[in-house]
Subunit: 223 residues, 2 copies
């Protein structure tokens, strides 16, 4: 029992990991064996100490003077995120956004595999989108249980989001990647991760407004 207590990385730390991973894979392609926190921080305009803390949170140890072994870092992050193993997912709502996600080839690198899509639109049911079949929504519960699906990707109209999510969590699905603008209310224990375009756009809008106001006041002063 001399092992260190495994510190669970904070949410901000987890969110930075994919960015590190991306760079590390680049470095590996360039046959770089070592990388320092200084270098990583430089590339992303972060503080070296923050990078070290992030890596330390996953239990990775570096070598003074040399830094970290690139291959080890990649392995540790992949392991930590579970991106070595494939996670099967159902996508619900085969509209514009849903189709785009089905067609996104990058998910393979994250271990995410969308194996079927579902919709209520008869014109979509039975078709294939990027070679993924679209099933009627009624078939989801049965298929989810039989195929041991735990993750649902929600890309349907806001109006249907909550009701559909309620249905999903009655099946084997216990985690939802929510691309709708709806804040889902679900039983405790259900994981919901929201991709919040409106929140992102709000930040952007604020920044733009602020910048605009600054420019205005600047011009006023100059005039």
């Amino acid at each position: 029992m001399t092992e260190k207590a495994p510190i669970t990385p904070s949410l901000p730390t987890v969110r930075r990991l994919p960015t590190y991973l991306r760079l590390l894979k680049e470095l590996q392609d360039e046959n770089q064996q070592y990388v320092s926190s200084t270098y990583i921080a430089d590339r992303f305009q972060l503080e070296p100490i923050q990078v070290r803390k992030d890596l330390a949170a996953m239990g990775i140890v570096g070598q003074p003077r040399l830094g970290f072994v690139v291959a080890d870092l990649i392995a540790a992050i992949m392991q930590f995120l579970g991106w070595n193993n494939t996670t099967k997912a159902f996508l619900i709502g085969a509209g514009n956004l849903g189709s785009a996600l089905i067609g996104y080839s990058g998910f393979a690198g994250y271990g995410l595999n969308i194996i079927a899509a579902f919709d209520v639109d008869n014109s979509k049911i039975g078709t294939r989108i990027h070679n993924i079949e679209v099933f009627p929504l009624e078939k989801l519960p049965d298929l989810a249980v039989r195929l041991h699906i735990h993750l649902g990707i929600l890309t349907l109209p806001a109006a249907a989001a909550q009701a559909t999510a309620d249905m999903l969590v009655q099946t084997s699905i216990t985690a939802i990647w929510n691309f709708t603008p709806v804040k889902l209310i679900l039983p405790a224990g259900v994981i919901v991760e929201k991709v919040d375009l409106a929140a992102s756009l709000a930040v952007l809008s604020c920044s733009l407004k602020e910048k605009f106001l600054l420019n205005m006041s600047g011009e006023a002063e100059n005039g």
Copy 2:
């Protein structure tokens, strides 16, 4: 000069505003005149005090016992986010995701108006996606300046992201909504807001892994 100093809301606050706005519009449709921070908090599993702080940060004042006037809240948030005014944007990369964003009708409610798309793919150039024309990328600088476009939406392959962003900021574009997985490095003053799918998926993956491990240990104990 007895006016209160206008406190700029924090980033987390700004990110919560669209969620409030959504609920407030619902309440308005139901002809609710007042709403309390308690009610809003309840609906989103937040603390009432946090809601009050968020609203206070925008300079909104409520009425003890009654709460806040729904219409006033909506107006204040819309005003604060600048979503009353239309922001014109160019979209660069008319692939799956780009097309999905062009087709997303919800942006109108955020004052966002995608007026043209750009691509380097000859098979896309000249076509229309949801009635938006796709132009060759070379035409962007001239058009951006002439149409006074300040916002670019980046939905192209990662490999082209940085170079294209570098080009964009040479035009009238000073803000980028970045949907690529690349962390863009751009001159100071340029606004970049990233929609980070990888980060979001990382959080989801972690939660799933944690839950899985908990279940495993639970089963072990029970066995």
